[in-house]
Symmetry: C2
Subunit: 286 residues, 2 copies
């Protein structure tokens, strides 16, 4: 813990946020803006990035290992800022964490965006932009229909878009064309609300908003999740009582310097020192 | 005009936007997002940047020269995306442009933000972050009080902040400290609404929002101006009737390459080719 004192009051403990890489930093960005009094601990499992093509059982094990590390560092709540990890591991993580002495809550993406989109749409036609894997999982479709069966979800897979953004090409011709193509079916379906179903996509939000027009509401994971985290902390009486700003720190399993450089662009805020961390292996029951 | 056909329908003409440099690109950013069907022509007078320390009469002449150039390129409306030029030249530009055959509207910053801030505040305590020159001009104070005399404006001059942002240091320690210091008097005055009175400041908006807390509403020039431009176009029946996106082009009086590089960070959107332009001298009556 690098000499950081551990507060005995659970309200003073940090919120743990994790992702397979830097994408989840767009979620942390929103959390930092909306919950300035909290401390945050972000873990990027960059050594094993990306999770997208991995088997669910493997992702489940990785997520359990990360959760143990964040728990060891006294996180009071966990946020899964990763679509793949949410789909593969949220239920098992939740079971696991409810067995700890704290009875830790684990919040993931997908459901908060689904809720916000359903609460926003007037036409009942919601669009979704996501990776092919996320679209194929039908996770957003199920989440939306569970909240309101009278809503239609128009899912548009965007192959390569997250990689284009991560490579720093979000403003070049290839990116513009990729985004423009993705907008065509959303225009045709006349969606009034569009979910950004990948944590990389907030970096192209202005371009998307311009292409979709000002009457379309964009729903991102970070904005939707921040609200749920706030609710969860209030319900559990876990809000940090401090008046000033909290601090935020970074852990990653891969190269710390590369994380710092790439991360600043995703966080869109000052990014302090990054600590390299080795995760302990965890057995996950089949 | 590089071969661009001039539409005979005035609705098809571009909106002219100008500034002394790249700061106004944060205003153009909002215009591109909120008015995607319009064409835009942005002129940065980078050869004579910055306007801040110049005499009003000189700024008046520069603005008249820019307006003539944009008029020559058939702008249907002018936006002054520059605090110094708005303070020094808006009234005389308006007089000059109303004499053209089109009866061209010229919209500037300051008044739209003042209106939005007064419409937003509940406590009646509005904060202002701006350059020392803008604060000393009392332009925002006058604009706010003209709309509602029962409101208090707490103006905080931020020496050096625009230069720090322009130098690309918006996330380093010096920037963080500068912004943190600026927030102290706003906290003490318990403002619930804060005007970003400089076109550079939207680049640090997330950091500011975090420091001021989620209950404070930030009002930027771009967002406020975009609404007024929309009203003006509607009133004059000048909205572009096209369905798809318009285009946007760039002119600058200084080095086109430097403008392109710096500009991309301020526009936060793809920035196409930049044309160097020499402005013709204009006589301004004393």
């Amino acid at each position: 813990m690098g000499g950081h004192p551990i507060p005995s009051d659970p309200r003073g403990r940090p919120i743990g946020v994790f992702d397979s890489g830097v994408g989840g930093l767009t979620v942390l960005h929103e959390l930092l803006v909306r919950l300035p009094h909290e401390d945050f601990l972000y873990l990027g499992d960059t050594a094993r990035f990306p999770y997208g093509e991995r088997q669910p059982a493997e992702i489940e094990r990785f997520s359990a290992e990360i959760a143990e590390e964040l728990l060891r560092r006294r996180a009071k709540l966990l946020v899964v800022a990763c679509n793949s990890a949410t789909s593969a591991a949220l239920p098992s993580l939740n079971r696991r964490m409810m067995q700890t002495t704290l009875g830790l809550d684990v919040l993931g993406v997908v459901r908060p965006e689904a809720l916000r989109a359903v609460a926003t749409t007037r036409s009942g036609r919601i669009g979704l932009l996501a990776t092919p894997t996320t679209v194929a999982s039908r996770a957003y479709e199920e989440a939306v229909l569970a909240i309101d069966p009278h809503v239609t979800l128009h899912a548009v897979p965007c192959p390569g878009l997250a990689a284009i953004i991560q490579a720093g090409e979000q403003f070049d011709e290839r990116a513009v064309e990729t985004v423009r193509e993705a907008c065509v079916p959303l225009h045709e379906a006349d969606c009034d609300t569009v979910i950004l179903g990948c944590t990389h996509y907030p970096l192209i939000q202005p371009m998307l908003q311009r292409m979709l027009g000002p009457r379309v509401t964009l729903v991102s994971s970070g904005a939707a999740l921040a609200r749920q985290v706030e609710h969860a902390l209030s319900t559990r009486d876990l809000r940090n009582p401090r008046v000033g700003e909290g601090d935020y720190r970074f852990l990653c399993t891969g190269d710390a310097e590369a994380f710092h450089e790439l991360g600043t662009r995703f966080l869109q805020m000052p990014l302090g020192p990054v600590e390299h961390v080795e995760l302990a292996a965890v057995e996950v029951p089949a």
